[in-house]
Each structure stands twice: as C-alpha cells, then as structure tokens.
C-alpha cells in the first residue's frame, strides 16, 4: 500500500515536470483551440440565419422577385433571397477572417472574444427578423419588411441609391469642412483677442442655440441654389459649436505655459500656434465631434425639405410610394456611413491627442 502510494506520487511528479517543460506550448495550443471555437460561435448565428432563409417555409404571400444584374460583363440572375444569403455569407467571411487575423495578438483576441456573443445574437436576430418579416409576415406591413426585402431595395435601386449617397457625401464634405475651418478660425480669434471676444462672443452665444434648420427659409431664398443653401446650413451648425469650444480651449490655457514659452524665446504668433492651439486641441475635437452629430441631422433634414438629391431626399421619395423597404435601406446606409465618418474622426482625434493617452479615464 505504502509503496504503491509512493510510486503514484513519483509518477505524478514526473508528469508534472514534463508538464512544466511543455507548459508554455500546450497552454497556447489549448488557447488556440478555444479561440477557434469562439470564431465558430461568432459566425454560427449568421449560419443559422442562412439555414432559416433556406429551409423555413415561405408561408406568407411575398413575391420573391428575380433580378438580373450585370456583374463584370456577366449577366447574373438572382432572387432577393440569394442576395440576402450572399450578404450573410459575406458577414461570415468577414468575421471569420477578422478572427484569424486576431489570432496572434492578445488584445485583439480579447476584443474579438468579447464581441462573440453579440455577433452571434446579431445573426439570430436576423433569422428572427427573416421569419417575422418575410416568412410569416407577423409584423405590420408594409412598414416592417424582412431583411431580404430591404436588400431588394439595393437590387432594384442600386445605382440610384449610390447617386443619392454621393450627393449626400458631397454636401456633407463641403459643409462640414467649411464649418470646421471657420469654426476653428473664429474660435481662435475669440479666444485670443479680448476685443473680438467682447463683440463676437455674445452674438455667437445667442445665435448658437438656434437650430441651423431654422435659417432654412433665408438660406433657400437668398442663396443661388439649393446645394449652397444646404451647405450654408451645415456650416452654421458646425461653425457655432466648434468656435465656442475652440475659444474656451484657447482661454483656458494656463498662464504658466505662455510664460514658459515667452522665456524660451517664443514670438506672439508662436504663442498662438505652439501653445494656445495645442492646448485647445482636446476642446476643438469635442466641438468637432458634437458638431458632427448635428451636421448629420441638418444634412438629412435639409435634404428632406428641399434638395434634388441625397439620402434624405431618397427617403422622402420612397415614403410617398409607401416603399418602406427602401426607407429602411437608406437608413441602413446612413447608419453605416455616419458610423464610418465618426470612426475616421475618432482615429484622427486619437492620433492628434495621443499625448493625453493614459491621462484621461476612458
């Protein structure tokens, strides 16, 4: 009995020793297997959505239209369900690839794992939406069509939507970039020169609270065309907000920073360019991102109220024909587009304000 126990003990010890030497490798291999399961879990939701679309009986009376598309000179015929499955497959591919890319980086692995449950739920939600919207039509129609029908809008109106999207982008780019330049410019003047502050700031404070669209009647009558009218509205909504915060950032620069710079030999322009403006940068970006949200609102509203194009215009037009699936399609594009713009601004902000990293709580 005693010897048996000793033998077992020593065997365990030998095993442990071996385990220690192989520990690192075995650990990471086990981790990899676990991570592959995570990837599988992430994409399985979308896979279920595909299965639902393929095998769930089409009970409700919905016309599954067939579209012919010209892709790279090939004439391809596909139904709206095919297009929907194509989109789901693309999502599976994207998430699987991003999972494989995250494999070797600890931080991105953690991030990917954290998102797994949500992405799975997204797939399931699409499957339920497909059942409720298209297969059984449980939701009120025509307001809540299924996912395949939303995708139908892109098949039916693809190039027209793209045209309107470009129109919106042009409007936004022209208006917002002007607004940022003018906002930062006036903000610096107000923040730096007490005289400008005295005369301009109260005007800015009072007019700044008025939503930009309130000026629309003037914009539409006084400006030469509707495009410049909309640009004008976006400019004002961005301008006031950004100018306000820029001025605040310039004014809050500690006196000690100016004194240090002056002693080191800085000129007056140097004080503005290399002390006041860098100090105001966090506030300038706060202004830019909040102005950005308002610019989206102004953009869509002015498109709905008097533009010959744009996503807002497309929504309005589709509503007239009760084509709510097209309205939804435009909303999806807006969500993607605006998130993308926010993301780009966020990246620029993060890069510019990298000196703050770790100072501020996230």
């Amino acid at each position: 009995m005693n010897t048996d126990a000793a033998a077992v003990l020593s065997a365990v010890q030998v095993k442990e020793n071996k385990a220690v030497s192989a520990h690192e490798k075995g650990h990471s291999r086990r981790n990899n297997t676990y991570f592959f399961l995570r990837i599988l879990f992430t994409v399985s939701g979308f896979f279920i959505a595909i299965l639902v679309n393929l095998f769930f009986p089409q009970t409700a009376d919905v016309e599954i239209k067939d579209y012919r598309l010209n892709i790279f000179g090939m004439n391809v015929g596909l139904t709206i369900n095919d297009a929907y499955i194509f989109v789901l497959s693309a999502l599976i591919l994207v998430y699987a690839l991003s999972g494989v890319r995250a494999l070797n980086d600890k931080d991105s692995r953690r991030k990917y794992s954290r998102n797994a449950a949500f992405r799975f739920a997204l797939g399931i939600a699409l499957a339920l939406w497909d059942i409720g919207g298209t297969k059984l039509q449980l939701f009120a129609q025509p307001f809540f069509p299924g996912p395949a029908q939303v995708i139908e809008a892109y098949l039916a109106d693809g190039s027209y939507i793209a045209e309107n999207l470009l129109y919106s982008l042009r409007l936004y780019a022209a208006g917002f970039s002007c607004g940022v330049i003018m906002g930062v410019g006036t903000g610096i003047l107000i923040g730096w020169f007490p005289k400008v502050y005295y005369w301009v700031f109260p005007v800015l404070k009072i007019t700044g609270v008025v939503p930009a669209v309130a000026w629309m009647p003037f914009a539409l009558t006084l400006l030469p065309n509707s495009f410049s009218a909309a640009v004008f509205l976006i400019v004002i909504c961005a301008w006031f907000q950004i100018a306000f915060l820029t001025a605040q950032g310039i004014q809050s620069t500690p006196r000690q920073n100016y004194e240090a710079a002056r002693i080191l030999g800085s000129s007056q322009t140097g004080l503005i360019l290399h002390v006041a403006i860098p100090h105001a940068m966090p506030d300038i970006f706060t202004g830019i991102s909040s102005a950005n949200a308002m610019a989206f609102t102004t953009l869509v509203m002015s498109e709905m109220l008097g533009q010959p194009g744009g996503l807002g215009y497309y929504i309005n037009q589709s509503k007239v024909w009760s084509a709510y699936y097209k309205v939804l399609a435009a909303i999806v594009i807006m969500a993607v587009l605006f998130s993308l713009i926010n993301h780009i601004i966020g990246r620029i902000q993060k890069h510019t304000l990298r000196w703050q990293e770790g100072v501020l709580k996230k």
């Binding site: 500690p254 000690q256 920073n257 004194e259 240090a260 710079a261 002056r262 002693i263 080191l264 030999g265 800085s266 000129s267 140097g270 290399h274 002390v275 860098p278 100090h279 940068m281 000196w355 703050q356 990293e357 770790g358 100072v359």
Partner: protein, 259 residues
C-alpha cells in the same frame, strides 16, 4: 558665460482678491555676482517668488530698478532661463520636443538634433526622448524643465522651488545634478526655496526674506567647502542659525494681532 544681476530698492505692490493693497516687496536691494549660486528662502508670502519673477522679466517693479550686466530688465529673455515649481512642461510635446522648444522658438535649427540629445544625456534622461510629460516622474519632469531652460545657453538660471513637490530621495539626487550642471556651465543660479538644508547645501549665499512686507532680513555667506556634508557640524550650526532667525522674525508682534 554668466552675468551679474543687480537689484536696487525694488518695491512691488499688488491688489488681492478683496481689493486690499498688499506690499509684496519693499526696498529690496541685492547684488548677485557672476556665476554665483544664490538661494532665496523665507516663509510663504515673503515675496521670494515675486522677486524671482521680477528678475525673469515676467513682472515689472513699482519702484526701484533691476539690471543685468548694467542693462535694465524690461522683458523676458532667453538669457534668463526659468524653471517653474511644477507643471511647466508642455504636456502635448514629448520630452525631446519640450527640450527643443527654445531652439525652435528662436529659430535656431542648426545642429538641433545633436544639441537636444546632448542635453538629454546631460540630465540623464536617455531612453525617455519620446515619452510625454505625464508618463515620467516628477523628478524627471524637472530635469526636462532644467534641460529645456539650459539649451538656450542662458547667463542665469532662475529656479522657483523646482524641488518643492519631490520626495526627499529624488530631491537630493536633483540637487547634486544641479550642482554638477552649475559647475559645468558656470552660470549664475538663483534658487527660490523653503528648504533650509537645500539652501545651505547648494548656495554661495543665502538671502533670507521675511513677510509683511516682503523684505530682505539677512544675507548669509555660506563658506563651507564643497562637496558639503549635510550632517557636518558646520552645516548643522548654520542650519540652527537660520532657524533661529526665522523664530525671531515670527516672534515679532504683528499689528493685526494687537488689541
């Protein structure tokens, strides 16, 4: 490269937040020799920082005059470097860009890189070139501030309690660094401090100031040989003498407490 600074009958009055006139400095006269290390000590409110700001050119006196090498001090100048108590660095610039600031501000682009790395090594911050001020310790930040001031090759370096916010180990470390730089550069150093040991350890002369109104109470020559030993008997004797002076100054009856 150094210079003599002379302060003659300088007075400075300011108005506090309640609208009362406060005499920050009254009839202050002091001559600082070339290459001298002078410390100004005194309790808070004695006008020692005010005096340093006047020498820097950040403030103007109400009466009297300040000159450097015979020229009136009218404005700030890179020839009088300044190190603030804390937080004087630009948080948006890296260590090396903070140090290079003076060169860029004066548009001296010649050999900028070499000079910056020379000064970084001088204060012992190799490897921290790309760090931002919030990523380094308080002691390191003050070294950056000193290097930033010295890169302009000033004739005098004005230090406003640069070690006030540091722990005692970092502090004595930085004191030795400062002495080393002073010996190496032979520039005039004027240090404002409230630390008696620091003043004795570093200076040739100690200017003792008393508040209400801020004026010079006594100037003490420290003729101890360097390197000085903080525990030495002469050191301790001098420490006692200065402490005694403060006690006497505080024991003086003050009008606001009289009945």
């Amino acid at each position: 490269m150094s210079s003599s600074i002379s302060i003659t009958d300088v007075g400075r009055v300011y108005t506090d937040t309640d609208g009362n006139k406060v005499t920050a400095l009254q009839d202050v006269s002091l001559d600082i020799r070339e290459g001298e290390f002078v410390s100004i000590i005194g309790p808070s409110g004695c006008g020692k920082t005010t005096l340093l700001r006047l020498i820097a050119g950040l403030d103007k006196p109400r009466s009297g005059s300040l000159t450097i090498d015979g020229r009136d001090i009218t404005d700030v100048s890179p020839e009088r470097g300044y190190v603030f108590q804390q937080g004087g660095l630009f948080p948006w610039l890296t260590v090396e860009k903070n140090i290079a600031y003076g060169l860029r501000a004066r548009k001296v682009f010649k050999r900028e890189r070499e000079k910056v790395s020379e000064y970084i090594s001088m204060v012992g911050l190799d490897g921290f070139e790309k760090s931002y001020p919030h990523q380094i310790s308080g002691g390191m930040a003050q070294r950056v501030a000193i290097a930033r001031a010295l890169i302009n090759e000033p004739k005098a370096l004005l230090l406003d309690e640069p070690m006030g916010a540091l722990d005692s180990f970092t502090r004595s470390d930085l004191q030795d660094k400062l002495l080393e730089l002073w010996k190496h550069k032979r520039i005039t150093m004027i240090l404002v401090t409230h630390d008696i040991d620091e003043a004795i350890y570093l200076s040739d002369r100690i200017v003792i100031m008393t508040p209400r109104p801020g004026r010079i109470n006594r100037i003490i020559d420290v003729d101890l040989p360097r390197p000085r030993h903080r525990g030495g008997s002469e050191f301790l004797a001098m420490r006692k003498e200065i402490l005694e002076l403060f006690r006497l100054a505080q024991a003086e009856p003050q009008p606001e407490y009289m009945i």
